[in-house]
């Protein structure tokens, strides 16, 4: 090993042309964006669930998973055919979706309005925030008995339970998003004579959209959870009712169908929010830096 003649020479492994270049130079290497075929992303996304499904299939076929623990995929498919054929599944789905949809809309609206009021006005913050934060810490499941006493075992109790459960994630996200609104932008708009309502509608809410959509995601998930809780109690229709019946007859195939339906509902909700993100915020992908994804 020869002693280096230049003490502070940078050790860059392209020194073969050192005679022409004064110091060892390197080419800047920007991050390379690989072109992808259109179906590529979708295929990668589907890979995980498909592997799980295959594992289930193999476990059932080899007898590791017996039918009294969990039905095999083939049995589940048969059960779907049976339930769809006699109209039980479509009816249950329609009932459940209506419940969670109506509850979600009420919850989202309440959360949004409360969040904007407390986030944007000092009076609202002082008056409402501490009480909403207190209510928020109550687990909504503990309200089930109380709601049954108040409203009986009808639809109102179920829808209100879902509404209560979905209000708080939306409230917290809206409050945070509205609080984080660009003060300088709001001041500028005020100087041009924009009213408070118009500022909220045209500046604050569009700026808070990422938070609002995060809140929507959380609320959608909770609406399904609250739906299960609501339908476990004395339901006479819906997915939860179907599950309760299947439980008493030990029909693991029907139980698996219901669980899969819940999973698919969550997946659809997520896809919906993704679409909304793209449709509602066209300005985010414009300009330097481009899309976050």
């Amino acid at each position: 090993m020869t002693a280096p003649t230049v003490p502070a020479a940078p050790t860059v492994p392209a020194a073969s042309e050192a005679s022409t270049a004064p110091t060892a130079l390197v080419r800047p290497r920007p991050p390379r964006v690989r072109p992808r075929r259109p179906g590529h992303t979708a295929a990668l996304r589907a890979l995980g669930p498909l592997v799980l499904l295959a594992a289930w299939w193999v476990a059932s076929a080899t007898g590791v998973l017996t039918a009294d623990v969990l039905a095999s995929p083939a049995q589940v498919i048969d059960a779907v055919g049976e339930l769809w054929g006699n109209g039980q599944l479509p009816d249950a789905l329609a009932t459940s979706l209506t419940r969670s949809g109506v509850g979600l809309v009420i919850g989202l609206t309440t959360g949004l309005v409360l969040g904007v009021v407390t986030g944007f006005t000092r009076l609202g913050d002082e008056l409402l925030d501490s009480s909403v934060q207190t209510l928020r810490t109550i687990p909504f499941l503990s309200l089930v008995p109380l709601f049954m006493v108040w409203f009986g075992i009808n639809e109102t109790a179920k829808i209100l339970l879902i509404a209560v459960a979905t209000t708080f994630p939306m409230y917290v996200s809206t409050y945070g998003g509205v609080r984080g609104a660009d003060r300088k932008l709001v001041e500028a708009m005020r100087s041009f004579g924009m009213g408070r309502l118009a500022i909220v509608r045209e500046v604050v809410l569009p700026g808070a959209l990422p938070s609002l959509l995060a809140g929507l995601r959380l609320s959608m998930t909770l609406s399904v959870i609250a739906l299960i809780a609501a339908e476990e109690i004395n339901a006479t229709a819906g997915i939860g009712y179907l599950m309760a019946q299947a439980q008493s007859y030990a029909r693991t195939d029907v139980l698996a169908v219901c669980i899969l339906v819940y999973g698919l509902l969550g997946l659809t909700a997520d896809a919906l929010v993704r679409l909304l993100e793209r449709a509602l915020m066209p300005w985010r992908t414009a300009g330097q830096g481009g899309a976050p994804r």
Partner: protein, 256 residues
Amino acid sequence: MTTTSTSSIGGADAETAVRIAGLRRTFGDRNVLDGLELTIRGGEFVALLGASGSGKTTLLRILGALDGADEGEVLVPPARTIVFQEPRLVPSKKVLANVTVALPRGAATRERARTALAEVGLERHADAWPGTLSGGEAQRVALARALVREPELLLLDEPFAALDALTRLRMQDLVAELCRAHRPAVLLVTHDVDEAVRLADRVCVLRDGRLITDEPVTVDRPRDPGDPAFAELRHRLLADLGVHAATRTPLPSGVN
């Protein structure tokens, strides 16, 4: 120290756009503005110089009704607009909608906004998102947004400070041209002496809460920094700001 004749408070003057008397604004125990007097005539371009923290932006914010005064009288026209140091465009609105912000909707408004955008040379960007604009373009949109309201008083809060030197010169020419065409009263807050002397009809220097200099700019237009009168005024203004210019810029012989 020079003080041009400021009309008295009681004197009704139809041409007066801004009248400030005995203005005081206190932050903590410091009087940022302390008995300040200033009158701006309609159509007059006044540049306000001051070191940072001297209260020049505070004065502009009081005139723009963004801040309150603690004491004194301030009179401004009802139609006034501000161009801030940053463009402050709403990212979720396209350029045209940013110009027409808070104006009644309608085809007439949009037409006026398009005209204003054409005046700043951005008519082709009406449908662009603010995020796609360069710093100079965004600031021109902010200028169009201010002008479309036909202000009697235009408040410019260091609007060129965040721009590069070349864009700044072009923007200064544009602002001068637009102000000549629309004739609003203008208060330009800046710390750039050359910019103040290039653009203004009158320059003021704010120090210790009051105007220690308030004099008309008599340099012939178009104003060239090489002009001895320009250099002499700059030298004096810099001295008022506490900078001794002789050491920084070589002055033509015979001056000073």
